[in-house]
Symmetry: C2
Subunit: 158 residues, 2 copies
DNA sequence: TCAAGATAATTCAAGTATAAAATTTTTAGG
DNA sequence: CCTAAAAATTTTATACTTGAATTATCTTGA
């Protein structure tokens, strides 16, 4: 069954319009993401993946399994192994055995990691506040709504 | 409704709202980007950076200097070297000497590269069309406007 | 019970990314 | 001319990312 496209009908978006939207979306998010990466590297001596993992761990005081972290951040398992290794080396996180399942570990922030992240999170929020200044509430609310709508559609697909 | 927000009177957004927007933006674009990467790998045996470089080259029939590519794609120079090396190995692009400046090269798609990209671009556009189906014209136009506005603000900063 | 089979994590190879240093070539000032 | 600065690119070092293969450990059903 194929979709019939009626030429000139205003309500049906064309593939060109959809492509345009995607390119704009990618551009905007990369502009912001690159800026955040630069600042994390330059000012906090960290990286976005490290920040993301710590953020996930911070929200789970009881710890998360490796696989749980990778599911939440939508990155591969092997990836998380390396990042958690680094965090552990730096004394920011540690692996704890799971009683009853010797395959799995729980990863937790150490007190040092928790304190460290609290600072970083404050700084991070201020960056975003600065970077996104110049958008008014209508812009923000409108975009949040539409992005939610979009993400919902995308997640439905699976 | 219990909120006191009045259309046309945009109150100042809080940093929490801005942070929320950023997280939504990042989520949506990663959902799409990951899907595109998966398909490029699985169906076209390619990668997003390769596709991006070829896309830039396709739009510049006379070729682009390495530095010009990295400026357009906003990635580092050293990065482009590796990607162009790969494309050249596969016979999709080649380096041409710039008459009068032996420091620089022009990179061009080969006929094979051009044909190859034409196919990929068609497929890519169809993917986006499919992935973003479910958004109506209002969603798309509204988002494009706001993303443009956002990107403009971000680019002003520099 | 006990061999599949599923699950958790790690390791590996290949590719992508950056910043900084190095190399080669061009351009300008004296 | 000649040398210092600038420009274009590559190289290097480090880190992130994925998907596939591997190891180790459960879980299950005949």
């Amino acid at each position: 069954m194929s979709t019939s496209r009626i030429a000139g009908h205003a309500k049906t978006p064309t593939s060109k319009e959809r492509l345009r939207l995607w390119l704009k979306l990618l551009k905007a998010s990369r502009l912001i993401e690159d800026e955040i990466r630069r600042r994390l590297r330059g000012e906090l001596n960290s990286t976005l993946p490290r920040f993301d993992v710590m953020s996930a761990l911070d929200r789970a005081p009881d710890g998360l399994k490796m696989s749980e972290i990778s599911k939440r951040l939508r990155v591969s398992n092997g990836n998380i192994t390396g990042i958690v290794d680094k965090l552990a080396e730096d004394g920011l996180a540690l692996r704890v055995a799971v009683p009853g399942d010797r395959r799995a570990n729980l990863v937790r922030l150490t007190p040092k990691g928790r304190a460290n992240f609290a600072e970083q999170a404050t700084t991070h929020e201020a960056w975003i506040d600065e970077i996104l200044s110049g958008l008014d509430t209508d812009d923000i609310e409108g975009m949040i709504q539409r992005l939610d709508h979009l993400s919902d559609k995308l997640e439905e697909r699976t």
